[in-house]
């Protein structure tokens, strides 16, 4: 292992541990925690070193197995993908700590199966952000999707049905993407992103380019649940096993947004994406604004904490897609910062939900009464997450929203400004409704089944508090984060 291929091991470690978890975890569940956490700690450390290296020496390309492109698979490590590597591995590490306890309660005896899929999923996500190959991206996208289908189907009640629904939508999305990639292959004869990008400008005016671009975008929008293609998400994510939700919810949509950025700027160029087809760019910002408003309205109608969170997730996808499509560096900065922030906020809130459900068995609003008294630390962390979603400084949610709104003001997209502000207000209503129930409604009489126990176990509390502190730390440190990392991560052509 050398410094130049460290990133490869960042991905390989969870993959290997997936097999080890399956083999050894089958014998004794005691193996699972050290294997999973060990691999992810290694990945996090590796990702940190990779990021540091990239920031010092600039990005680099790596050919797997020394098969030269366009035949071999190329990995691209630039500031943006290195940042994503760190984000994914760190979030997965923290989420796994919480998932261990939750899965032990919900899926006794099937933990090794769960964590096998789980670790493959992490490996797939890590691979996705590194790949420089349009077809390889498709393969990894399917690896992550299929493992996700499996994980969701392990959930309770109608989870298999929700998963089936997701399979259908996910496969349609994948087909779209694959068709797009296919067109590009026919046009250019290569699947390597950099190669395609160098050939495409010579083919200007070819209608197939637009088709390919449109297909790839739609495919990814389905996968990231961009309104109005979001229908599969709320059921799938709210019925999934709690432990799976902790990791899937923060990472899947965010990684897909990252893929959208990759396709827009690494395969196509900003000049093409934004300006080749008049009206498209503005239209998508409008759709994003609608996405934010509709998803927020739908969230208002929910009476269950986790379902509410899933709709907020859909709204947040609108934030990021809108931010990217504002076509200026401020909006782009906001979108990338929001990928980081939203991953952390979602992690914090889903962990809090997991801690509550672990102790009380339900996330219906009526069951949340008096929770502040029974689980003060959990609810304190939940409150931090809620403030971040509302956008109260100094939590990180405020800072990405700032860039997004500022970008919209600069671009003159006032509809997006209004959507973001209204969504903040709706989030305030959503979360204060819960805070009011959990804080100020009188505690119900303890029922006989002993479910009114106290604070969540340390295995859930530690990652939760870590996530909450991260929200504040990333918020206060957002200045350096933007200046030293995200500015470098902006696609060429959009850098300020």
């Amino acid at each position: 292992m050398t410094a130049t291929n460290l990133h490869l091991y960042v991905m390989v470690a969870p993959l290997l541990s997936a097999f080890a978890v399956n083999l050894l975890g089958r014998r004794s569940r005691n193996w699972i925690a050290p294997l999973a956490l060990g691999a992810l700690s290694f990945s996090t450390l590796g990702a940190l070193l990779t990021l540091q290296r990239v920031l010092q020496h600039g990005g680099y390309r790596y050919t797997v197995g020394n098969w030269q492109p366009p035949y071999g698979i190329e990995l691209v490590i630039d500031p943006l993908s290195a940042l994503m590597l760190l984000l994914i591995s760190a979030v997965a590490l923290v989420a796994t700590v919480g998932a261990l306890k939750s899965v032990e309660q919900e899926l006794p005896g099937r933990e090794h199966l769960f964590f096998t899929l789980y670790m493959i999923l992490v490996a797939g996500l890590l691979g996705l952000v590194m790949t420089g190959d349009a077809f390889n991206l498709y393969v990894l996208l399917e690896i992550t999707s299929i493992t996700t289908y499996g994980l969701i189907a392990m959930g309770r009640g109608r989870a298999p049905l929700a998963s089936f629904n997701y399979i259908i939508m996910g496969s349609i999305g994948a087909c779209f993407y694959l068709l797009g990639a296919g067109y590009l292959y026919i046009l250019t004869g290569t699947l390597n992103m950099a190669d395609i990008a160098s050939i495409l400008p010579g083919l200007q005016g070819h209608a197939a380019i637009a088709t390919a671009f449109g297909f790839m975008m739609v495919g990814l929008w389905v996968k990231m649940a961009f309104f109005p293609l979001h229908n599969w998400l709320p059921n799938a994510y709210s019925l999934a096993p709690t432990g799976a939700g902790i990791m899937i919810a923060p990472l899947m949509t965010k990684v897909t947004v990252y893929l959208m950025i990759r396709v827009m700027f690494s395969i196509f160029a900003p000049e093409y994406t934004f300006f080749a087809h008049p009206g498209v760019q503005a239209g998508i910002v409008w759709v994003a604004s609608l996405a934010i408003l509709c998803a927020s309205a739908l969230a208002l109608a929910q009476r269950n904490l986790r379902r509410m969170l899933t709709y907020i997730l859909v709204a947040e996808v609108g934030y990021m897609v809108g931010g990217v499509w504002l076509a200026n560096s401020t909006g782009m900065t906001g979108a990338v910062l929001h990928i980081v922030n939203d991953a952390l906020m979602t992690l914090c809130l889903f962990l809090a939900a997991a801690a509550i459900v672990y102790r009380t068995g339900s996330l219906d609003f009526d069951h949340l009464r008096g929770l502040y008294r029974r689980m003060p630390l959990t609810m304190a962390a939940f409150t931090v997450g809620a403030f971040s979603m509302i956008g109260v400084p100094p939590t990180c949610g405020f800072f990405s929203k700032w860039y997004l709104i500022l970008g919209a003001v600069e671009a003159g997209h006032w509809e997006f400004v209004v959507a973001l502000l209204l969504s903040s207000l709706v989030n305030a209503v959503l979360f204060f409704r819960i805070i009011e129930i959990a804080y100020f409604k009188v505690n119900p009489q303890p029922s006989g089944d002993g479910l009114l126990a106290g604070e969540a176990p340390l295995w859930l509390l530690t990652p939760l508090l870590t996530a909450a502190i991260a929200l504040l730390a990333v918020g206060i440190g957002s200045g350096p984060l933007v200046n030293q990392v995200i500015r470098l991560a902006l696609p060429p052509g959009l850098a300020p």
């Binding site: 109260v392 502000l421 200045g479």
Partner: protein, 489 residues
């Protein structure tokens, strides 16, 4: 003014923030818990007072906490205007703490630990607003204050309190996110900075229409200042325990709203710019309407605390009116009125609370003859209301005098009429309370014989603040000097 880097402003803000931890930990030991509160209150005042001499000498303090956006750090800065507000707030905070102890124990309120902890966070946020060097920092502390006072408003936890809490947050958070945030972003994208600068940062960057839009967004966005029609939360918030009301009215919240608006007028727009585009009219019109309407509504309120609440709404607009006159005397009066009104109004609320503790009466119509049983409380009430009306020899006279001068200076005689008319209305809604207290005989079936003055812990603070309203008439020196320095006169 020169600024030196120093940790003092941070210490002054954080001392009460840090003390929340021991407060929460000494949940079961009320005496220990209250000692922490008092310790923090006194410590905070001392830390603020230590900085006073250098500020008076023209030497301020500055501390950059984090560089968050290009050109906009999270930064603390102690200048004359901030010092003026922090001095008043941190002193009254001591009185409120002592009073809280007396009130909360006498009425045996629930969840007192939460109460004291929220209070400690809220006063930190208040001082934070005072010491903010730019609009972003101010916004941060402003939000922190909104969120930390929410549990105080909802303290009683019954349906009414929860409904009021919802109303409170909807107004305060709704306007700060919906109006101030976009206004701040537009300002930033126009000017590239948010620093409070003498003379403003917007001059030469924006058209008159943009300026007018921003001004309206800021005026109504800082809904804590309760400019009509953003005042609905204030009477609703009266369901909270009385020390909370006095905190809302005297020490913080409403004053933070006014302070924020004044900061924006002085430091973001700049009086010269507003004068040159003739936008002072917008401010004075909104403020005048609020003054008159609120005073008229106050006349009809029978609930003592609600009457005081409407009185506050009117008085807050005095301060904004003064600033809107854009003349030296007017601005001086407006800023000075923050302090004078604080001392007067906090006295009145302390008295209302003391009456409630002693007699459990909330309605003015039930208070006939009560003044003879509680002469000290009613005496203090008299001083407080005289100060609010603006009669000599009380502090309120000085600020009102400057306001009247300002109206003449800016040749807006309408404003003179508004101010004098409002004074009459103030007298009309205050004097009946005092008259009925001292001279009316108790209503049929009302037995007042068992009622005596409230406990010492309630009595001392209200006598102190009442006396100070008197003293401030004779010795307004330090405050006046700070105001003059703040306005660079």
């Amino acid at each position: 003014m020169n600024y030196h880097s120093s940790l003092l402003p941070l210490a002054a803000i954080c001392i009460s923030l840090l003390v929340t931890v021991p407060i929460l930990l000494s949940d079961r030991k009320p005496n220990l818990r209250e000692s922490w509160t008092l310790l923090a209150a006194i410590g905070k005042f001392c830390l603020v007072a230590i900085m006073l001499p250098s500020v008076l000498a023209g030497e301020g303090f500055v501390l950059t906490l984090a560089e968050v956006f290009p050109g906009v750090p999270i930064q603390l800065r102690v200048d004359a205007m901030g010092m003026f507000f922090a001095l008043v707030a941190s002193f009254l905070w001591i009185c409120t703490s002592i009073y809280s102890i007396g009130y909360m124990r006498s009425t045996q309120e629930q969840s007192q630990t939460r109460y004291y902890a929220s209070f400690a966070v809220a006063i930190s946020a208040t001082i934070g607003v005072a010491f903010s060097a730019n609009l972003l920092t101010l916004y941060l502390f402003y939000e922190m204050l909104s969120l930390s006072t929410y549990p105080l408003v909802t303290h009683k936890q019954n349906d009414e309190a929860r409904a009021s809490g919802r109303k409170y947050l909807s107004y305060i958070l709704g306007t700060s996110i919906g109006l101030v945030l976009p206004a701040m972003l537009i300002t930033y994208s126009i000017a590239g900075t948010l620093d409070f600068t003498a003379g403003g940062i917007l001059a030469g960057h924006a058209s008159k229409a943009t300026l007018a839009l921003l001004l309206v967004l800021f005026l109504f966005g800082f809904a804590k200042a309760a400019l009509m029609p953003m005042h609905g939360w204030l009477p609703a918030a009266m369901v909270a325990p009385t020390p909370v009301s006095s905190f809302l009215h005297g020490v913080a919240v409403v004053k933070v709203g006014v302070f924020s608006i004044l900061r924006v007028i002085f430091g973001i727009f700049g009086p010269d710019l507003l004068r040159s585009v003739d936008l002072g009219m917008v401010i004075t019109t909104v403020a005048s309407i609020t003054i008159l309407v609120a005073s008229l509504i106050a006349l009809s309120q029978d609930n003592l605390k609600r009457r005081l609440a409407y009185s506050t709404i009117g008085q807050l607009s005095y301060m904004i009116l003064g600033a809107g006159m854009l003349s030296a005397a007017g601005m001086t009066g407006g800023l000075l009125h923050i302090a004078m009104h604080a001392f007067g109004k906090i006295t009145l609320f302390f008295c209302a609370g003391a009456i409630y503790v002693a007699s459990h009466k909330k309605y003015i119509s039930e208070m006939d003859g009560l003044g003879r049983r509680m002469p000290l409380t009613y005496g203090a009430f008299l001083l407080g209301s005289l100060s609010i009306i603006g009669m000599p020899p009380l502090g309120g006279f000085i600020s009102k005098w400057h306001l009247l001068l300002g109206a003449i200076e800016s040749q807006q005689l309408v404003l003179l009429v508004v101010l004098l008319g409002s004074s009459l209305l103030n007298a009309a809604y205050f004097f009946p309370i005092i008259y009925r207290g001292f001279f009316a005989s108790p209503a049929e079936g009302q037995d007042l014989s068992g009622i005596q003055e409230a406990p010492l812990c309630c009595l001392i603070p209200l006598l102190t603040t009442a006396t100070l309203s008197l003293v401030l008439f004779f010795f307004p020196g330090v405050l006046l000097q700070l105001v003059r320095q703040a306005l660079a006169l």
